[in-house]
């Protein structure tokens, strides 16, 4: 039993030694390669060894070009914390904060000190979970209730600042007499400003007081689905009786009869 323990102990020591001998590496995206330093997009600069090798990550052969901004790369450090090898990769490497053992290799002239502007408590959701905006694509569901005077065959759209306020940017689908819905994919962190329209900005929604509205705002969060429920009070082209004006061709003759397309021969009354 004791012999067994000794053997396991020896094996563990060997593993630790092998691990300790393995070079320290990091991966990430390059920011700059200049003045004897290589900089990653974390903002950290690492000193280059005099004989630094620039390799292709896939073939491990010398790369055909110098490292450049936006390149994904692996940096290999020597014991002195200098970069001895940079492997340029075609595929993206995950970009994130540096591990502590590599952070110590970063060269900086001034001693770092905390930024009070970054010291605030993290924002949390209503469930108390840290609210993050990772930029991942999430589903956003828009549902709107339209005024009861909206025609049964009306088409409803969303116009947004993300589409240059194109009044037909996002078409919605009717789900009943008064409701329309649409689901779109958007990057979390997007702050969307939007309004509902019936296809033009002359038929955009107005407030309950008949005046035009400032755009609605939606902050897209990291949760799997985001939703927006809105009520349109009125449309900009609703007329005196709150009945929508019939679209018409130009020029529009005044027609006292409410039936624009009766057959020929149907006579209006004479007393």
């Amino acid at each position: 039993m004791i012999r067994m323990r000794h053997r396991l102990g020896s094996l563990l020591c060997m593993l630790i030694l092998v691990a300790a001998a393995a070079p320290v590496t990091i991966t990430g995206q390059l920011l700059a390669y200049q003045d004897g330093f290589v900089f990653f997009t974390t903002g950290d600069g690492f000193r280059l060894a005099p004989n630094v090798a620039i390799l292709d990550d896939q073939t491990k052969q010398p790369a055909k070009r110098e490292p450049a901004p936006r390149d994904y790369a692996r940096a290999v450090f020597n014991d002195a914390g200098q970069v001895v090898e940079i492997d340029l990769a075609e595929k993206p490497y995950a970009v994130g904060p540096l591990p502590d053992n590599v952070q110590a290799f970063a060269v900086t002239a001034s001693s770092p000190y905390p930024n009070p502007e970054l010291a605030g408590p993290p924002q949390t959701t209503s469930n108390g979970v840290d609210e993050t905006f990772s930029g991942k694509l999430v589903l956003v569901k828009f549902e709107v209730q339209v005024p009861p005077t909206t025609p049964i065959n009306a088409q409803i759209f969303i116009t947004t600042d993300q589409s240059g306020w194109n009044p037909q940017a996002i078409q919605m689908q009717r789900i009943d007499a008064l409701h329309f819905v649409v689901v779109r994919q958007m990057a979390s962190g997007t702050i969307l400003h939007y309004l509902y329209t019936r296809g033009t900005l002359q038929t955009e929604e107005t407030g309950p007081n008949g005046l035009s509205l400032r755009p609605r705002a939606l902050s897209v969060k990291d949760s799997d689905t985001n939703s927006s429920n809105s009520i349109v009070a009125s449309w900009a082209d609703a007329n005196a009786n709150n009945i929508l004006q019939q679209p018409s061709v130009f020029p529009t003759p005044y027609n006292p009869a409410p039936f624009p397309n009766l057959p020929n021969g149907v006579k209006t009354p004479h007393p």
């Binding site: 020029p251 006292p256 006579k267």
Partner: protein, 608 residues
């Protein structure tokens, strides 16, 4: 020799386009004035103001429209309006986050002197500049509030300050040689290749607005099947655009549009000529203004001309709509004015000399809840007149040139009543109902009753499918003091009288049963099928009723009309073919109602 009376002088429209184009070019120019400030910082010791205009030159600039990203590389030169200039190898700007980054061999010129570094990031919203200088060795400096002389050395920076966005799954919308960016407003590119379906189209310039106000996006053009817009030039308050368009009626043509927008809500003016390259031209002017906090005015004016090029028109007409809105406490007043002149040329043309006008005043309440019931109601009252010196309507031997009207309307609605198990969203039914009723009395002795009733039952069947069943009844009665519409039997196309019409006395009823189903395969592919049945009085008969006129893209200009085919099946497919491009195809099947088998054309629209 032709003698013309003064009042018959034709409207001289020949020079109007030149005047407007000159005016718009002058109005579009001020962007240069803003960027010139960048080159000449004021020689004072006070901190520099935050940059509002950034100008970039680079070997290669790419714009990703769907993410509002600008990525540049190669000999990047950046000038900011606060006097800072930068050079480097790479540039990245997120227009929505309003921050930019210059990386690799950075050279900074500012009031703090000339410095070299590895990267610099400017967070314009916060007036914070994060810099990695390389003097003997790298450091981290933060410039606060435009103070370039006292950097905060070593202060911790936000974690993603120097991150480049991942654009590997995004298509380039355009490439350029230079760009002028006004923060939170617009970007103007020069030396452009705009990409459409991965094909580059060379353009001298391109303008993109990305601000929060929709004033500059107000549109005065009619619909088209295809509209490729080239925003030629622009600044924070002006855009000049040329539209390459196609529709079934006009075929291919160009349209011109000039937008002017203020900084307040609802402050805009849009002028357009469309089609610019056809003899039939529509000159539109749309304006809006918000005066104070509770008053708003909107106008629409259209001038029609028939002219070859910009020669003297042989036909011309004009119409103007003005809408005034005054908000009150839980209600609002609206005035709606229209003036139309059917002949702007003079008596030499055969056009109608009529020039009717109308004014409607209305008071509208909010849509208020009835106590604590699920019902809501809204009321409206109106009065107004229509006038035409040439006569509006003859009745009882009198030609009415002015017809006064008064109206009252009420709307009651029942939104979103849930039926079923609320724990199971796919087994839940929703009931919605509304009734809108109005009466209009006219000084010609008749009144018009209109009632519109809709009830629907809907259900989300699965994650991808939702469906609704709706029933709509629209009653319209035009009731004269003496008699109604005279009994008559209009002749059918084969010459025989259509006797069911003899009972029509001015009261029509349209009943519509609709079953609609939407299949959302993904947010980028949506199919909607709507089956409709109409049971109307007077009953439809093939070829008897005049169909509504169609607009330029083949849609009926109004969709509720007498004589609708009793059975209809409409299918619409919307597919997103590019990040900013949606293709919409729809058509209606009429089940062989007389000669009507399908709707006149496929309605095909490409929209952004």
């Amino acid at each position: 020799m032709r003698v013309r009376r003064k009042c018959e002088k034709p409207v001289r429209l020949r020079y109007l386009p030149l005047l407007i184009v000159a005016l718009t070019l002058v109005l579009s120019a001020p962007g240069h004035a803003q960027t010139q400030r960048a080159a000449s910082p004021a020689p004072t010791a006070t901190p520099a103001p935050p940059a509002t205009v950034v100008r970039i030159h680079a070997d290669h600039i790419e714009f990703y429209y769907d993410r509002y990203l600008i990525e540049a590389s190669g000999h990047v030169q950046v000038q900011a309006s606060n006097g800072m200039t930068l050079s480097g190898d790479a540039f990245s700007m997120d227009l929505k986050l309003n921050r930019f980054l210059v990386a690799s061999h950075v050279h900074l010129r500012s009031r703090g002197g000339n410095l070299d570094g590895a990267a610099i990031a400017d967070f314009l919203d916060f007036d914070r500049i994060y810099f990695v200088p390389v003097i003997t060795k790298p450091d981290r400096w933060t410039y606060e509030n435009g103070d370039y002389t006292n950097p905060l050395k070593g202060r911790q920076m936000p974690g993603d300050v120097f991150y480049f966005p991942d654009v590997s799954n995004t298509s380039v919308s355009l490439s350029a040689k230079s760009a002028t960016i006004e923060a939170k407003k617009f970007v103007r590119f020069t030396g452009v290749h705009a990409y459409f379906l991965h094909q580059g189209v060379p353009l001298p310039s391109y303008y993109v607005y990305f601000g929060l106000s929709q004033n500059l996006a107000q549109n005065s053009l009619s619909g088209a099947n295809v509209d490729a817009t080239w925003n030629m030039i622009g600044n924070a308050n002006s855009v000049t655009a040329l539209h390459a368009r196609y529709d079934a009626f006009n075929q291919a043509y160009l349209g011109f549009e000039q937008h002017l927008g203020g900084n307040g809500p609802h402050e805009y003016a849009v002028f357009s000529i469309n089609p610019l390259t056809k003899d039939d031209k529509y000159w539109n002017l749309v304006t809006g203004e918000h005066i104070g906090s509770k008053f708003e005015i909107s106008t629409f004016t259209q001038l029609y001309t028939y002219q070859q090029g910009f020669s003297d028109p042989s036909a011309s007409a004009q119409t103007t709509y003005v809408t005034l809105t005054q908000a009150l406490n839980r209600s609002y007043l609206q005035a709606y004015f229209n003036q139309t002149n059917y002949n702007m040329i003079g008596p030499k043309t055969a056009a109608s000399p009529n020039h009717p006008n109308s004014l409607q005043l209305s008071a509208n309440s909010y849509n208020d809840q009835i106590f604590k019931t699920p019902l809501y109601f809204q009321t409206s009252f109106g009065l107004g007149f229509n006038h035409d010196a040439y006569g509006l309507q003859e009745y009882g031997g009198t030609l009415y040139t002015t017809i006064w009207n008064q109206s009252v309307g009420v709307t009651v609605s029942l939104p979103n009543v849930k039926i079923g198990d609320r724990e199971k969203p796919y087994a839940l039914y929703y009931v919605n109902a509304s009734i809108n009723s109005s009466r209009t009395w006219n000084s010609v002795p008749h009144h018009i009753n209109a009632q519109n009733t809709t009830i629907s039952l809907s259900r989300q069947i699965s994650k991808f499918v939702n469906s609704y069943l709706a029933y709509n009844i629209q009653n319209t009665s035009d009731l004269y003091l003496q008699g109604g519409y005279e009994p008559s039997a209009p002749l059918l196309p084969d010459g025989t009288p259509y006797t069911p019409f003899e009972s029509f006395r001015g009261a029509a009823t349209q009943r519509t049963l609709a079953l609609g189903t939407t299949y959302t395969a993904s947010p980028n592919l949506v199919t909607t099928v709507t089956f409709g049945h109409h049971d109307d009085f007077p009953a439809a008969y093939p070829g008897l009723f005049a169909p509504p006129p169609t607009n330029a893209i083949g849609q009926y200009t109004y969709t509720n009309y007498l004589g609708q085919p009793p059975w209809q099946l409409n299918t619409e497919v919307r597919v997103r073919i590019e990040p900013h491009l949606v293709l919409d195809v729809q058509r209606t099947y009429f089940f062989h109602f007389g000669n009507e088998i399908w709707s006149p054309t496929f309605v095909i629209q490409l929209s952004g």
